[in-house]
């Protein structure tokens, strides 16, 4: 069986071979959905004046935004409320990526099973490592900005200078463990679901729903939550 990330096409760009992979296409689909939803909500909300006591769509959007803002504030503290939009967006993106295993998607290979589901982009280590590297550079960048280069460098030599290599390794291990936590969980779900759908038809009645609830919905929501929360914790603790 084949759970690898299929290459859809290759593009030649200035002599380099660019591989357009399955997870890139799926990621574009998800980004398209998000952008489209944002634009539509924006247009609808602009058409009428915003109310002080919201109703309908405005109410729903305000609830979601408030929830994401509160999530940021309760993890990072009141003074870091300005991180809300970034982490809110990150959370929605990762959540939709994880849940995309529930949606039927385009077929890239002939040998797929009966039902072809989308391969979650987060089941590709390139996607999760990119997200974790954003966190890593934010951690170091905001740490330097808040403490100054001298204090930041001094923080690496604590509690005493022989431990500096260990501190550096510890910092570098953060994005690795962060990315592979998300990757491993989502890939595990994808593999198990893929294997299950290759069983004979009588095994496919009802039981896949329970498996989807655990591997896609529970693990997907939980891992999106954990990824964003850990990222927030790293950044806010670097700034203290």
């Amino acid at each position: 069986m084949d759970f690898s990330n299929h290459v859809v096409t290759t593009v030649n760009l200035f002599g380099f071979e660019l591989w357009i992979t399955e997870s890139m296409v799926n990621s574009w689909i998800i980004m398209g959905i998000l952008v489209l939803a944002a634009v539509i909500i924006r247009i609808i909300l602009q058409r009428r004046t915003l109310q002080a006591v919201p109703t309908g769509l405005q109410n729903v959007v305000e609830t979601i935004v408030e929830m994401l803002d509160n999530f940021t504030v309760s993890t990072m503290g009141e003074k870091h409320r300005n991180f809300g939009p970034f982490y809110g967006g990150m959370f929605i993106y990762i959540l939709l990526c994880n849940l995309s295993g529930l949606l039927p998607g385009p077929k890239y290979v002939e040998s797929a099973g009966y039902i072809q589901f989308m391969r979650p982009p987060t089941a590709d280590v390139a996607v999760t490592l990119a997200l974790a590297l954003i966190t890593f550079f934010m951690t170091q960048g905001y740490g330097i900005k808040a403490k100054g280069v001298k204090n930041w460098a001094k923080g690496l030599t604590e509690p005493m200078w022989p431990l500096t290599p260990l501190n550096v390794i510890g910092e570098l291990a953060n994005p690795v463990s962060l990315s592979f936590r998300l990757f491993g969980n989502i890939l595990g779900g994808t593999i198990i679901m893929g294997l299950y759908y290759n069983l004979p038809w009588f095994a496919l009645v009802g039981i896949p729903a329970a498996l989807h609830i655990y591997f896609d919905i529970f693990a997907g929501v939980l891992q999106a939550f954990i990824f964003v929360m850990l990222s927030m914790t790293f950044v806010s603790s670097a700034m203290e």
Partner: protein
């Protein structure tokens, strides 16, 4: 028999076995060994269940439902290392990439075994996460109003406790899919 003789006796026969059969044989052992990690989640979840039962008995009116929910949530997270082991075992059994790989038979075979062996590390995260789930269930039973705060701390700690299990998974996947040992 000298040392050389013992080593020859133990490993020498492998040279005469078909490399593919060797890979398949060691894959079988590897898949079995990977599932030993199930010890961890088992102990951890049992501990969580016990602590939750204790918490319910102490505060049956207000704390019963929150403690049960926290126990279930924490136990589901503690299951992660068991699922990682299952994934590696299932890859070795049904989608073994080593079978069709070019290389020295014994190295490929040992890679399958090593992938299974590394997943045994899942015992640690399983027990640790279960312990966290149990203590959280106990705490929520005492103070049901702090449920969201306790759950948040529990999930954060459990995610960190998972790290070594994640490293084991990385090594197992590298052994299976990447040709590092040529």
């Amino acid at each position: 028999m000298d040392v050389q003789g013992i080593i020859d006796f133990l490993i020498g026969w492998m040279e005469n076995v078909d490399p593919k059969a060797l890979v398949l044989a060691f894959s079988a052992i590897g898949a079995g060994i990977a599932m030993i990690a199930g010890i961890g989640p088992g102990i951890g979840q049992g501990f969580a269940a016990g602590k939750a039962a204790e918490a319910v008995s102490k505060n049956p009116e207000e704390g019963a439902r929150p403690a049960t929910i926290v126990m279930l949530l924490g136990s589901a997270v503690a299951e992660t290392s068991g699922i990682f082991s299952l994934v590696i075992a299932v890859i070795i059994l049904f989608a073994n990439p080593l079978v069709n790989k070019e290389g020295v038979g014994i190295v490929l075979a040992a890679s399958a075994l090593g992938a299974g062996l590394s997943m045994v590390a899942g015992i640690g995260p399983g027990i640790g996460q279960g312990y966290a789930a149990g203590k959280s269930a106990e705490a929520v039973g005492k103070r049901p109003k702090l449920q969201s705060m306790i759950v948040r701390t529990m999930l954060l700690g459990q995610a960190i406790a998972q790290t070594t299990g994640i490293y084991a998974l990385i090594v197992a996947l590298i052994l299976l899919f990447v040709n590092v040992l040529k």
